[in-house]
Amino acid sequence: MLSLSPQSLPQTIAPSVAIEKGNSLWKDAWQRLKKNRLAVAGGIFVIFLFLLYFFGPFFCQHYEDQNLDLGASSPSLNHLLGTDTLGRDLLARLIYGGRISLTVGLIATCVALLIGVTYGAIAGFAGGKIDTVMMRIVDIMYALPFTIFVILLMVFFGRNIFLLFFAIGAVEWLTMARIVRGQVLSIKKMEFIEAARALGFGNRRIIFRHIIPNVLGPVIVYTTLTIPSVMLLEAFLSFLGLGVQRPMSSLGTLIKDGADSMEEYWWLLMYPAAFFSLTLVSLNFLGDGLRDALDVRTSKD
């Protein structure tokens, strides 16, 4: 018998007694997450938003299409959420603005993740004096009035969206660095790392195979919680007129425009505001649920 067919294989070597299957950390976490109704609802809403932002534009009119004769009209069958003063469909603008807000949230979080994880991992793994100096720098940077710097950066260097990613990412990495560093520091001292060393594995293998998978939990949790805070900062800047610029619109600029004309056209404020808050709520619930499921301690170090 030269070729073993896949079907025949298990029968030949299947043990008579079934071995009890252990659960991995991720499977356990998934089971716990599924039980948390708020987190599940948050997750479903986040997925719904993603689908809406990606596929929505195929089904509604272009976000810049104006209809000056129509002007601002209240919600109706033609325009489910009404139109703004230029007769532009609010739903289309919301979808487009939400897309930008979420993109800013994701990319700026990635920037923060990249800087924070690298910095924290180096500090934690190096330990000793290097660690002390690197963390002292983080402490000092915590004391800087960062919102002010982001505002200055945006005013001085033109308001383009790439600078926005960078500026927000540069603000948000500090906490990530602290978390990763603390985690690496405690894992480094554990026995299984010692065992890996005793087996003669190199630094690279220890870092990538043993330390990084164990740091992943807190990083995922914190990333989920960073996205809403990044979106908040972006909206804050857009509200001050410093974030996303016309003709692009983000949820922040929509809220700003809505607030300017809320006395006559309530829907221009209410729907963007509701959309924005719902997005934040569901991301936060998802993050909290993940934290409980992965059993991450929330302490600072």
């Binding site: 002010i148 804050f236 808050s277 929330t298």
Partner: protein
């Protein structure tokens, strides 16, 4: 204790220097200046203006002169009672403003800072008055409907940011109900909406932190001891648990106060309040070099001082942390 404070103050000096240097040179290396906008000035006027602001000196000399002017040279805190003049009290001179040539930045700060401080103080009060009781209640009645109510209130407070809540409150209470003015900062009643708006987010955050901290403390042995000794539940919570349970809140308050100060940018814009936050944003737009630097330094100084106070209070609350 005194050594700890002295060391922290010494450490603050390089931090402040980094901030001053960074802001100073960032402004100068950016294209455009305070006189490029609006109506062009004639060459003679421009020359006079540049001479007035010492813009013709080499940059390093301007920088050193500026830093020298900033250094505190005397200590008469009592002078602060006659108007907030930092120059009279400490010899800190922020120089004349570029946008309003006949006013100094010191004067503008003395004029606007009290408004922002009042807004911040009331907001902080709102945050503590709502946040602490909600958090303690949620922790004591853990996993009851009361806990769920408090927790979801806190979550909604975090997810409805100031620039959403502010306009909504104005729309409802000022425009539909007509109870308050939509904007302005004249009578005491004008304080209500802005302070509620600004305090809301921090109240929510404080409630969450209080709940977490209290739950952790209530599970500890010394609480069981206190109960075993026959202390009433009220005494256990308010005397034994609160001291440890509020630690996370206290460490949050340092950054929170900084946040309340910077958060006022949006509030002051929404409610048309003549405070320092709005002045800061405007000065950045106008390239008002000295005004931007003055406000940045002031905010950074506040953050440094409040972080220091927070650290001291933390040790007082938790004797396990000694000043190291």
């Amino acid at each position: 204790m005194l050594r700890f404070i002295a060391r922290r103050l010494l450490e603050a000096i390089p931090v402040m220097l980094i901030i001053i240097t960074g802001t100073f040179f960032m402004q100068r290396f950016v294209p455009g200046g305070p006189f490029t906008a609006e109506k062009a000035v004639t060459p003679e006027v421009l020359r006079n203006l540049q001479a007035y602001y010492h813009l013709n000196d080499p940059l390093w000399k301007q920088y050193l002169d500026y830093v020298y002017d900033l250094c505190p040279k005397k200590f008469h805190p009592l002078e602060l009672t006659h108007g907030l003049d930092l120059k009279a009290a400490f010899g800190i001179d922020f120089r004349p403003s570029f946008k309003y040539p006949n006013r100094t930045v010191n004067e503008i700060i003395a004029d606007k800072l009290p408004v922002s401080l009042e807004l911040g103080a009331w907001s902080l009060l709102v945050a503590l008055c709502f946040g602490l009781p909600l958090g303690i209640l949620a922790a004591v009645k853990r996993n009851s409907w009361l806990d769920y109510l408090c927790s979801s209130l806190a979550m909604s407070g975090i997810c409805v940011p100031t620039f959403v809540l502010g306009p909504l409150l104005v729309l409802f209470f000022a425009i539909y109900l007509g109870w308050f003015n939509a904007s302005g900062w004249y009578s005491p009643i004008d304080r209500v909406l802005p302070c509620l708006t600004l305090g809301n987010f921090y109240a929510a955050y404080i409630a969450r932190l209080t709940r977490g901290g209290m739950i952790e403390v209530l599970n500890q042995d010394y609480i069981r001891t206190a109960r075993a000794k026959g202390a009433t539940e009220f005494r256990v919570v308010m005397k034994h648990a609160v001291r440890g349970g509020l630690l996370p809140v206290v460490s949050f308050l340092g950054p929170a106060i900084a946040g309340i100060l910077t958060g006022s940018f949006v509030i002051e814009t929404i409610f048309q309040i003549p405070g320092l936050g709005r002045e800061f944003v405007n000065s950045a737009f106008n390239r008002d070099y000295t005004m931007v630097l003055g406000t940045v330094i002031l905010y950074a100084g506040f953050i440094v001082i409040f972080n220091l106070i927070v650290d001291v209070v933390q040790v007082w609350l938790n004797p396990k942390l000694k000043f190291d």
